[in-house]
């Protein structure tokens, strides 16, 4: 930036050279405002006292020259040219009475402000970059020590979880998916055989529980199966007319005895 400005601050020869350089390097400008700032430095005055009218004329001349050299200018340069031409005419002519909108002076002042602000920001950027910088002028600790994370795991469990876990174990059988477990099943065929085999020796009324298979009374599942099979077998035998069933009242023990004169011949005897 400093080099650029110095170009315009010397003799008229270098000024002319610079003007040519401007045209050739038009792509080197960051838009119309940048160009305007560069042009404004040619006035060699404080940006606050810059003649916006002169600047507008400079800019318009630049655009004309560029056109003469058939340099294609980006649209924004032309938009700025149009606006500056407008501003120039407003600055030169006395304001029309009753005219709306901001005055030409206000617009010119704002343009000067924009230029000054841009220049200020560029200076600020330069002084920022001129500062001592980390890793260039001053340095951070080279041998960084990692802060070691000491991970300690704390396990948690609630009383409810504990109790539920226990309940889950103890009642696991209840939740077991249904599977036909031969081991604990006393079939009706087995029960029929057992009753048939025993009934002849029983004589009078005997409780049905006496016909339960041995060793099946302890475990609930086995007892249930044996009970059901024995009961069903007794009904089957009664239906076949081989036995008689009696129950004195609801929930009273069921007793059976062999039918002395079968109504229907037993399958075996037929």
């Amino acid at each position: 930036m400093a080099e650029e400005t110095s170009l315009f601050e010397s003799t008229s020869v270098s000024e002319r050279l610079a003007a040519e350089a401007l045209i050739v390097d038009v792509d080197g400008f960051e838009g119309p405002l940048d160009l305007l700032l560069t042009l404004s430095r040619m006035q060699k005055v404080d940006l606050r006292r810059i003649s916006v009218l002169a600047l507008a004329e400079q800019y318009l001349r630049f655009v004309e020259e560029a056109k003469a050299l058939r340099i294609e200018l980006a649209a924004d340069y032309l938009v700025m040219a149009a606006w500056l031409a407008f501003l120039k005419s407003r600055l030169l002519l006395p304001p029309e009475p009753g005219e709306e909108g901001p005055s030409a002076e206000d617009l010119a002042a704002h343009l000067a402000f924009q230029l000054e602000r841009l220049a200020a920001m560029r200076e600020a950027a330069a002084s920022l970059m001129a500062r001592d910088q980390l890793g260039r002028n001053f340095f951070a600790r080279g041998l960084e020590e990692q802060v070691e994370k000491v991970r300690s795991v704390r396990y948690s469990a609630s009383l409810l979880e504990l109790i539920q876990a226990y309940a889950r174990i103890r009642t696991r059988d209840e939740f077991r998916p249904y599977a036909f477990d031969r081991k604990d099943i006393f079939t009706m065929e087995e029960a029929l055989e057992r009753i048939r085999g025993m009934i002849g020796f029983a004589g009078d009324w005997t409780a049905l529980t006496h016909y339960m298979p041995e060793g099946w009374g302890r475990e609930p599942a086995r007892r249930r199966s044996a009970t059901a099979a024995t009961f069903a077998a007794s009904l089957e035998l009664a239906k076949q007319g081989q036995i008689e069933i009696r129950q004195s009242e609801t929930f009273a023990p069921i007793t059976i005895r062999a039918r002395t004169t079968p109504r229907v011949p037993a399958p075996r005897e037929s």
């Binding site: 041998l143 990692q146 070691e148 000491v150 300690s152 396990y155 469990a157 876990a165 696991r172 069921i254």
Partner: protein
């Protein structure tokens, strides 16, 4: 600041900087370096005529008893955190994790059946109990070894600890609710199989149909 700036390119033109200045230099070099720096390397970097060894000796004394020390690593030197402050380089991160299902079941069995042997736990759970599960519970100090069982092999038993009782807010393991209470309280997420409700209702009735042997 500019008056204390040394240009290494001009080193031969000037006398060596004062020792205090050299000490500052050694300090900065050692601080910024990612690796321990040898005396030779320090000397190479410092203005001509500097005595890195002497500056280092002064610097070393300056850091005695400080939060960082100047230590020798091979033939090089580096700043290191004072050994007694090592704990500052650690950040305790407590991670809260749920106890695994195996662990909580094992714990529950120990709590309900203590003192209980490993074989008994396995029998109740129906699966083998991994060494790690019991170790974890021991480590958490929720269970500990009880007396050995006076049976063949004299197996160890496990019991729960006061820490366990404390954690679960129990006065003793006997305070743990029984299965019946759990069921009454609806804590058993009982998804009964068809007919399972009859177990305690109908089944009782049914078993009464038959005389108990």
């Amino acid at each position: 600041m500019s008056e204390s700036r040394y240009d290494p390119n001009e080193k031969s033109l000037f006398d060596a900087p004062p020792l205090a200045e050299q000490e500052r230099m050694v300090e900065a070099i050692l601080f910024a370096s990612a690796e321990p720096v040898s005396l030779r390397e320090m000397a190479d970097r410092m203005p001509h005529g500097s005595d890195a060894a002497e500056a280092l000796a002064y610097l070393r004394r300056r850091y005695e008893g400080r939060g960082v020390h100047l230590v020798q690593v091979g033939d090089a030197w580096a700043f290191r955190t004072a050994p007694d402050l090592g704990f500052l380089m650690q950040k305790d991160v407590v991670e809260l994790r749920k106890l695994s299902r195996a662990a909580i079941e094992t714990l529950a069995i120990i709590a309900y059946h203590q003192p209980v042997t490993r074989a008994e736990i396995e029998e109740i759970r129906g699966v083998a109990v991994s060494r790690g599960t019991i170790d974890q519970l021991l480590e958490m100090e929720w269970v500990r070894l009880g007396r050995r069982r006076m049976t063949p092999g004299r197996p160890v038993t496990f019991i729960v600890t006061p820490t366990f009782l404390d954690h679960f807010g129990l006065e003793s393991a006997r305070d743990l609710p029984g299965l019946k209470e759990l069921r009454a309280a609806g804590l058993l997420d009982n998804r009964p199989m068809p007919g399972a409700e009859e177990e305690e209702g109908d089944m009782v009735g049914q078993s009464e149909l038959f005389e108990e042997e």
